[in-house]
């Protein structure tokens, strides 16, 4: 580990800490904010998330080596953690920490983008179904029923089986398109109750068109459940990507992702467990942080829930 990387990591830690403190200070002003930080785990979750995002964004600095740099395929392969390589090296003598950092870019990006697709499609479908009701609602909700009935992994396997070689972008799209069903139900529920509220009725009476009503009046009030479902959704996608990469149909080598790092390390589990251990722990930490933040958001944005 060189000096620049160490400093960069400390910088990321500091940035995360400061961000959390600053957010906490500003949040004290609103009841939502106070409820959010009332949860112990929320601050930790936020800290972990900001830290990893900072790590990912600053990859060339926080990672001492490149993601595919093979250092010495004879002498330095499968080295246990040491001062020089804090997380050890893998089968191809690549520094595990550097791969973890670059892998965070891929894993987080896949998670965020796929979730974005899922949430966009889900919200749109849910809002349309909830607002327009009648035939549109019935058809859309039947589609959602079908989507929820097929286990997601099988759906992905079918997609991958049929189109033999999926470029990464298309894979992300497909992951997103298999995950919007739950969000749409959620949004539909909210929209159904919102559409009879006074401000919506007033807007309708004033002659506003449906799209305008949906986007200006209804959706902004549905943001809460969407944000929560987004936070939890990213975690799900990251786990899914890890699973796909483990099966060999996820992110293709040599591009690192936490999932394919676990897959690469699995055949050496008995002799070099660190290559599998650390990517798994990283996924666990980030998903844990997302779950904590998501839970806290749920509590914060939903004052109706009983006090814990």
């Amino acid at each position: 580990m060189n000096l620049r990387a160490t400093l960069a990591i400390i910088g990321a830690l500091a940035l995360a800490f400061l961000t959390v403190e600053e957010t906490r200070r500003r949040a004290k002003g609103s009841s939502t904010g106070r409820r959010f930080f009332g949860q112990q785990a929320a601050s930790w979750g936020l800290f972990v998330l900001v830290f990893f995002i900072a790590l990912a964004l600053a990859a060339p600095w926080t990672a001492p080596y490149g993601p595919s740099t093979t250092l010495d395929i004879v002498a330095l392969k499968n080295q246990p953690p040491s001062w020089v390589h804090p997380l050890g090296t893998d089968l191809y003598s690549r520094d595990v920490w550097s791969r973890l950092v670059y892998g965070s870019r891929v894993s987080l990006a896949v998670g965020a983008l796929a979730m974005l697709v899922a949430v966009t499609v889900g919200s749109t479908v849910g809002a349309m179904a909830g607002y327009l009701r009648g035939g549109v609602d019935a058809v859309l909700m039947r589609v959602v029923d079908v989507g929820l009935a097929v286990p997601r992994m099988f759906l992905l396997l079918v997609a991958i089986a049929i189109w033999e070689r999926l470029p990464l972008g298309v894979l992300v799209l497909v992951i997103g398109l298999t995950g919007w069903f739950g969000t749409s139900r959620l949004v539909r529920g909210e929209v159904l109750s919102l559409r009879e509220r006074e401000f919506v009725v007033a807007a309708r009476a004033l002659g506003a068109g449906t799209p305008r009503i949906l986007f200006r009046h209804v959706l902004p009030n549905v943001v809460a459940p969407i944000v929560v479902s987004a936070a939890l959704g990213i975690g799900n996608v990251m786990l899914l990507e890890a699973g796909l990469s483990f099966l060999g149909i996820g992110v293709p080598p040599p591009l690192p992702s936490w999932g394919n790092m676990i897959a690469d390390g699995a055949p050496q589990l008995a002799t070099a467990p660190w290559t599998t251990l650390f990517p798994g722990l990283a996924i666990g930490l980030v998903v844990m942080a997302l779950n904590a933040v998501g839970d806290a958001l749920l509590d914060a944005l939903n004052p109706r829930r009983a006090a814990r």
Partner: protein, 324 residues
């Protein structure tokens, strides 16, 4: 009540039909002629001819669809390119294994989740609650297959407490008496079922903790305590009964996630179920098997939801009245 049941069954059937139709359309979107392999997996010409006739492969789309549905109804899913046997046979071998694994995992999920959740609610805000809280949060956040790999390493290879994958001991099983056979099967089932059920148990525990806390805050609990009822009875008799209800909902909701997890866990533990069948079929470019396994998994989920709804109606009398 009966009317509601009929409506639910009809809805479930509609879902299955929709999935079948989607599968059919996807088959036709795929490159190459559906049901027939490419040059890389040669098939017996007699079998090819039979498939052409059964699925009407040279005829217009609606006719093909009708033949497809008819074939499925008869249990004919086509021929596996790589295994050289009818897909239905491969499925028939795999489905019981997945049912056993998923069923046990679900049981562990609900039972462990309930126990942990109640314990946490009773010891709320004290050290056991906080520790378990973080513990379950962590367990619910790590990849299941990673957990599986590590548990195989530690408990299987390291401590020799459990075998390294498989359903039964391939050498000794045929010679064992019935009692020992059951023990052998349970011994092989433990690690995969625990791994699969663990993650679900974590979220069930958190859900149950919240539910029990809500119940414990109710007035009638305070009354029971005021009456002098021992705490243990308060929990068991009042709180538990109401905490079990969400389990039924969770049962229905967990099924798709359980089957998604099963694909990975079965691959790690070499458990010959539907998940492993589908995952292996990808590498064999054997897509009739993938589609059939997906259909099978969907039917499982739909049936499971139906059972969950029935249980719900049984357990909560309000439902029966409202849904009628």
């Amino acid at each position: 009540m009966a009317l509601w049941l009929v409506r639910r069954i009809a809805a479930s059937a509609a879902i299955v039909v929709a999935v079948v139709t989607t599968m059919f359309l996807l088959l036709h979107l795929a490159p190459g002629v559906p049901f027939l392999p490419g040059v890389e997996t040669p098939m017996d010409p007699a079998v090819v001819a039979r498939l052409r006739a059964e699925f009407g492969l040279d005829q217009p789309l609606p006719v093909q669809y009708a033949k497809y549905v008819a074939a499925l109804a008869r249990g004919n899913f086509g021929e596996s390119f790589a295994l050289h046997r009818p897909v239905a046979d491969a499925l028939a071998d795999a489905i019981p294994n997945t049912l056993v694994l998923a069923g046990t995992a679900l049981l562990l999920d609900l039972v462990l989740g309930l126990a942990l959740g109640v314990y946490q609610a009773v010891r709320t805000h004290r050290l056991p609650d906080i520790a378990l809280g973080y513990g379950t949060l962590f367990l619910g956040s790590v990849p299941t297959f990673w957990l599986g790999l590590l548990s195989l390493l530690v408990f299987g290879e390291g401590l020799h407490w459990f075998p390294i994958g498989g359903v039964v001991d391939p050498v000794l099983y045929p010679t064992l008496p019935l009692g020992a056979r059951i023990v052998d099967r349970l011994w092989h089932l433990t690690l995969p079922a625990l791994t699969l059920g663990c993650v679900g148990a974590a979220s069930t525990a958190r859900y149950e903790r919240a539910a029990v806390l809500e119940v414990l805050a109710q007035d009638y609990i305070r009354t029971a305590r005021a009456k002098g009822l021992p705490e243990r009875l308060v929990i068991l008799r009042h709180a538990l009964r109401n905490a079990v209800l969400p389990l039924v909902t969770l049962f229905g909701l967990s099924l798709p996630f359980l089957l998604t997890g099963a694909v990975l866990v079965e691959s790690v533990f070499a458990w010959p179920g539907m998940g492993k069948l589908a995952a292996d079929a990808i590498f064999r470019r054997d897509y009739p098997v993938v589609l059939a396994a997906t259909l099978g998994a969907t039917v499982m989920v739909v049936l499971g939801n139906l059972v969950a709804d029935l249980l719900y109606a049984v357990v909560d009398p309000r439902i029966r009245v409202h849904r009628a």
